[in-house]
């Protein structure tokens, strides 16, 4: 077992345990924190696979922006008290069973697949920003532009949803 393997197993364990805590934490703030920890583990995996750019972008985007928004919302709503009524035990059980069976079915299907023994190398420079940049602006330039359209739509949408309709309320009164 090389150092690489050890790091892999540690990161994996970290990720899975934190992910489980995301689900079972009563307090949403704890869920957020565990999710961030999971993201860090995943970023660690990226670094292990020599995808540094994605590793750091993962941190910036998910941990730095997305989860902050989550935290914001949770804090503003003051959901820290464990007010969330729990679903019945049956639902928990059903969720566990269904997710577990999904996992089992898929993984047992893959046991037969030939591809599964191909190693993932940490060598190669495809994770480097230069290569990614070239690919992005060369082959993937259309999706790149489209993502701007997507953002525009999301921005308009967030504005429409978020703004209070002052004029309308006045007129109805």
């Amino acid at each position: 077992m090389s150092l690489h393997d050890i790091i892999f197993w540690i990161l994996s364990l970290w990720a899975i345990v934190c992910a489980i805590f995301v689900v079972i934490s009563r307090n949403p703030v704890n869920s957020v924190l565990f999710l961030i920890a999971t993201f860090f583990a995943i970023s660690g995996h990226y670094i292990l696979m020599n995808a540094q750019f994605l590793a750091i972008v993962n941190i910036i985007v998910y941990a730095g922006a997305i989860m902050v928004l989550f935290l914001f919302v949770i804090m503003l709503m003051n959901l820290n008290t464990d007010t969330e009524p729990q679903k019945s035990r049956l639902v928990h059980f059903a969720a566990l069973i269904s997710a577990g069976s999904l996992l089992l079915v898929v993984l047992s299907a893959f046991r037969k697949a030939e591809l599964t023994q191909i190693p993932v190398t940490d060598a190669g420079d495809i994770g480097l920003i230069k290569v990614l940049g070239k690919t992005l602006f060369d082959h993937y330039v259309l999706p790149f532009e489209l993502s701007s359209v997507l953002f525009l739509a999301a921005m308009v949408g967030a504005m429409v949803i978020g703004r209070k309709e002052v004029v309308e309320e006045k007129s109805t009164k």
């Binding site: 090389s2 150092l3 690489h4 703030v29 924190l33 961030i36 540094q52 750019f53 750091i56 972008v57 941190i59 910036i60 941990a63 730095g64 922006a65 902050v68 935290l71 914001f72 804090m75 503003l76 820290n80 480097l128 920003i129």
Partner: protein
């Protein structure tokens, strides 16, 4: 995997030095802040502890250490403890990728060995900075939230929204710079700014990207939560900010981390726009002195720039009144971001039409 023990040793020493230096600079920043504030207000500033009050930071630190620890009853305990640690941890992390000086050579018994005055030269250096800065928010937010105090929470949210908002403009202003440099590695960026005058043009990025620099500077003010953007601490509305409930050394860590942040961002500013450790006629100097000495000179130059920036931060703090929160966000979203985009466009156009190598 072969591990170069000497390399690890070297890096550990470097890390220790950098952290110690950061701490030291941060500590003396508090002293400097008082001094600067004093002289600008026609006062003298700390004087009693040691000559010129130079032992004042130590006294402050000692005082904080011996103060009573108070953990509010209704707080979320482990987060309350975690927050200051996180905050100071993230502020120290950034220093890892700053090139403090040029390589120098040690002639040992096994032959010459080049030592890099940088903990890690990763090829996405600037992104690393952004990554660390973006998670720095958590320290504040968790601290504010875990205190279970409305004022803390509000100020934490202010701090976080301010940080997120200005990160955008910060990033955008840098993109124009990165277009010019063509790399994200800070070391390469510094090396590109070698010397001061190339014979044809100034090498420092400040001269190529003045607008970018200004935007970056303004944004770093906001990121550091320093006046005139020190919303989270606006005493008149929110008492003391997100660390309202903190006491003793946990408070000290928050305060300390802010100064460390200032130090690091000054270093980043100097590295990106003011040539890092480069200085005019450095080639001549290099020829004249041994490599070790030259490196020290370079480190000194960088430190001088950093100190200059720190002084500038303080200078501004004691000059400008605080913005209102809506003005702050307005400035960020409707002024700085468009300006940064404009800067980006102009830079792109210039590169496209004048320096197109194809």
């Amino acid at each position: 995997m072969s591990i170069d023990t000497f390399l690890i040793l070297e890096k550990i020493i470097l890390v220790v030095i950098i952290i110690a230096a950061s701490m030291g600079v941060a500590a003396y920043s508090t002293w400097a802040e008082r001094k600067v504030a004093a002289v600008m207000q026609d006062r003298i500033g700390p004087l009693r502890a040691g000559p010129f009050g130079l032992l004042q930071p130590l006294a402050d630190g000692g005082k904080l250490f011996f103060k009573e620890e108070i953990v509010p009853d209704n707080s979320t305990k482990w987060l309350f403890m975690l927050a200051p640690a996180m905050f100071i941890f993230t502020s120290l992390m950034t220093s890892a990728i700053i090139p403090w000086g040029p390589d120098f050579v040690i002639n040992g018994s096994e032959g010459a060995r080049t030592v890099a005055l940088q903990v890690a030269d990763i090829n996405i250096g600037i992104l690393y900075v952004f990554g660390v800065v973006s998670i720095g928010v958590y320290g504040i937010m968790l601290g504010g939230w875990a205190s279970n105090n409305k004022f803390s929470l509000l100020s934490a949210i202010r701090a976080a929204s301010q940080a997120i908002s200005y990160e955008l403009a910060l990033g955008l202003s840098l993109i124009a710079l990165l277009m010019l440099t063509g790399t994200l590695s800070l070391r390469t960026i510094v090396e590109q700014q070698h010397g001061f005058w190339d014979g044809n043009y100034f090498t420092w990025n400040f001269f190529k990207q003045p607008l970018g620099f200004i935007i970056f500077l303004v944004c770093s003010f906001a990121e550091l939560n320093r006046a005139p953007f020190d919303m989270p601490e606006s005493e008149s509305e929110l008492n003391m900010g997100y660390h309202l409930e903190y006491s003793s050394m946990k408070l000290g860590m928050f305060l300390f981390a802010e100064y460390i942040n200032m130090f690091i961002s000054s270093a980043v500013l100097a590295t990106l726009f003011f040539g890092g450790y480069n200085f005019p006629w450095m080639d001549q100097v290099q020829a004249a002195v041994p490599s070790g000495i030259f490196s020290l000179i370079c480190v000194g130059v960088l430190m001088a720039k950093v100190v200059g920036f720190i002084l500038f931060f303080m200078f501004v703090r004691w000059t400008l009144p605080r913005f209102r929160f809506d003005q702050l966000l307005n400035l960020g979203w409707t002024k700085l971001i468009p300006l940064a985009l404009f800067n980006m466009l102009v830079t792109g156009a210039v590169i496209l039409f004048f320096f197109n190598k194809k």
